[in-house]
């Protein structure tokens, strides 16, 4: 009997249900873990994702034929039973569980172990085969609790505000930006948002997420009115022409990559805050252990190193090439 999920040049494929998971080439039927551009791509005939993930996908992909599904709701597709479970990566993000004739696979997309108060918290699923990312699959990546990072960010913002500077914080528009919003201390000053961030905010607010008040930093906005402001923007927008009108400013970047001093000094402007929507080294190992799976497939990140470690420690792990990118150093967010 062939395995329930196989790895093809279009993506992860389930023959029993004739569907793909996060395919990177156009297919008939795509089950999507979450709305980031490397997982939810253009051109599929039909999409399926959690109710919480769909609005952003529609916003980004336009008029798609899509079906929503609730977390934990079992669905039969052909000979496969499929269900979506929280992955804790961004709001609405899911691991996709596929069961065919008693064989259970879980494709995790991207995931994070720590509860962030915004995304549905990661729920490990017992399975035989677990498909994992390894974006930060090295022991040098260890995240501080989010409350600690929140303190650092707010202290920096307060310092900027006290010095009469605008604080520019760079973060990916979907997920990281909203998570940061919930961590910011709104007593310090107003929060302004770049349009890429604000558009995503609107979509998420409309589906009921509680986000603090933000002011769109449009071309007409007069920065002088908003003293002590923090501006949340995608990294690509930092240092570009539109930031000039805000006068004296500091820039910071919030990403797991900020753990590395070299990257921090190269990319971060004035400050780098270590906060990621991916699991750190220990988080990856804990989540994998909790699945009870023996067979692990490593899709993106430090795949070779991570798979070797797993193989040395009792798992049967292999690297599978995919079109996923995770949180890359160089990629700018898809607007």
């Amino acid at each position: 009997m062939s395995p329930a999920l196989t790895f093809t040049d279009r993506g992860i494929y389930c023959a029993a249900g004739d569907f793909y998971i996060d395919p990177w080439r156009p297919v008939e039927r795509a089950l999507i873990t979450h709305g980031h551009a490397d997982h939810a791509r253009y051109g599929h005939k039909s999409y399926m994702a959690t109710h919480a993930a769909l609005p952003v996908m529609r916003h980004r992909l336009g008029d798609i034929s899509a079906q929503g599904i609730a977390f934990g709701e079992p669905l039969t597709i052909g000979d496969a039973t499929v269900s979506f479970h929280p992955a804790g990566h961004v709001p609405g993000s899911a691991q996709i569980r596929v069961e065919v004739a008693g064989e259970i696979w879980v494709a995790s997309g991207d995931y994070k172990a720590e509860a962030d108060g915004l995304s549905e918290t990661f729920e490990p699923q017992r399975c035989h085969h677990f498909i994992t990312e390894s974006t930060f699959g090295l022991p040098v990546f260890r995240w501080q609790p989010q409350a600690v990072v929140a303190q650092e960010i707010n202290a920096w913002w307060a310092g900027c505000a006290a010095a009469g500077k605008t604080a520019f914080l760079g973060a990916y528009a979907l997920g990281k930006a909203q998570r940061l919003l919930t961590l910011l201390d709104t007593d310090i000053g107003p929060i302004l948002t770049h349009s890429a961030v604000e558009n995503t905010n609107e979509v998420l607010r409309a589906q009921g997420l509680a986000l603090p008040e933000t002011i769109a930093a449009t071309a007409e906005l007069d920065p002088k009115v908003h003293t002590g402001a923090l501006v949340l923007a995608p990294p690509s927008a930092l240092g570009s022409a539109w930031t000039k009108k805000f006068g004296a400013q500091e820039t910071a970047f919030a990403s797991g990559w900020m753990q590395l001093r070299g990257v921090r000094r190269r990319r971060a402007g004035d400050r780098g805050f270590v906060i990621s929507d991916h699991a750190d080294w220990q988080g990856l190992l804990d989540c994998i252990t909790a699945t009870g799976a023996e067979n692990i497939y490593v899709t993106h990140g430090y795949t070779d190193i991570f798979a070797r470690y797993l193989n040395d420690n009792g798992w049967s792990a292999e690297v599978v090439p995919t079109g996923f990118e995770g949180e890359t150093l160089d990629a700018e967010p898809a607007a």
């Binding site: 040098v140 590395l260 160089d330």
Partner: protein, 532 residues
Amino acid sequence: MKDFAALFNAIDQSTKTTVKVAALAEYFAAAPDVDRIWTIALFSGRRPKRAVTTTRLREWAAERAGIPLWLFEESYPIVGDLAETIALVLPPVETTSDEGLSHWISELRGLAAVDEPARKAAVLDAWDRLGGTERFVFNKLITGGFRMGVSQKLMTRALAKATGKPEAELAHRLMGNWHPDDTSWETLIEAEDASADASRPYPFYLAYALEDGPEALGAPEDWRAEWKWDGIRGQLILREGQHFVWSRGEELMTDRFPELARAVDFLPAGTVLDGELLVWHPQTESPASFNALQRRIGRKTVPKKLLAETPVVLHAYDLLEWQGADLRDTPFAERRALLEGACADLPPEAPVRLSPQLDFESWDDLAEMRSIARDENAEGVMLKRAGSPYLIGRKKGDWWKWKLDPLTVDAVMIYAQAGHGRRANLFTDFTFAVWNGNDLVPFTKAYSGLTDAEFREITKWVRKNTLQRFGPVRQVTPHHVFEIAFEGIQASPRHKSGVALRFPRMSRWRQDKPLQEANTLEDLNDMLRVYG
């Protein structure tokens, strides 16, 4: 070490000089004497000796982190810094330490005297008690590579701010042969007499590159010109019957150039010369190429044979001290006249020679001389304002180097390797090839010359176009052509291509140039015939 770690963070987090200077000044104003003198020592390149090998450190760190050594070794190139890799893999600390910088420095200097189990215990104990940046700083101290974006100039400015003393005086005080063990804050910074040490050099004055021609400098008669030699800048000090040779990097090189010892026979005590160390054979018209000098650079002691093959002479172009008096405020033209007087009667066997001035009346004259600089084995010409004092460090205005345009070839990138430190995770180290028939022959590596944005772009491309990996090196599809600029070319049997370049760097990314139009090995050989 908390205060020092906080200082480190403040400096590391900012790219702004004013912020760094303010943080340093604040630290200098408040820290205990022992800590601040060690801080000055560290920022001026005086490190504690390495007491533990990096091999042991890696093993101990992996063991304490509970990870296999191979996993540590795989992580290191990705982080790009050993001290940082160790700090990151170790478990978080439970306790803290209130001891200062100098405490931890004496801890790790004490390691040299004890056996290995005791060393290990002491290092592990430090790792258990130092968290975050403190741990990183400790590892930096122990691995000996302490660079953190603070130049000596910047530190001197901060010291001036903290002490109220003039920057120039402090810069002079910090030069030379002192060590925290044999001096104190009081002696080094505060004491009245700063000239007690006979070996103490003057801070070097450095020239800026002249990008466009000299016309903007004003009237030619206000300027003096010399060849810009391709040697080692050096300061020869003759005081109290002794001699000392300092490099521009403030390294004492006296023992490396024993032929200069005879200078005391020909010049009076109380003389300090600024000049260029060059290999110059008797009865030849011009100095030997830099390659000859290179054979001497790495050697702390010089065998007789090498000494005979590569005789080094100081070509003096400035006089900083004469008859014991500091001349740095005297105008250059007057210093030069004194220098010419001092060198007038030097016999051929003296290890010091006067570096000639170039006679020119117009900028066009000078441009013509510059164009034949390669024939003199010079890199171009130097321009010095006749009325200028001898300043400290790199200052715009009075001294200019007007170098020859570099030689260039268009070459194909064939291998890429990730950088270190700030450039970890970026492919920045490339190997380039030229055509030899249908084959690409590697002939040089280059690391610099592109912007961060270009390095990011090429990094993305390398990731997608890797043909093969050899450890950290990736062979990539031959596709991109770069213009490689360099200062000189030499025959080199050690290289496959038969040539070695001096100062190769990427001057342009020739995205307009098709692969087939890159230069050939024959082109390189032609250059070798002309310039080698």
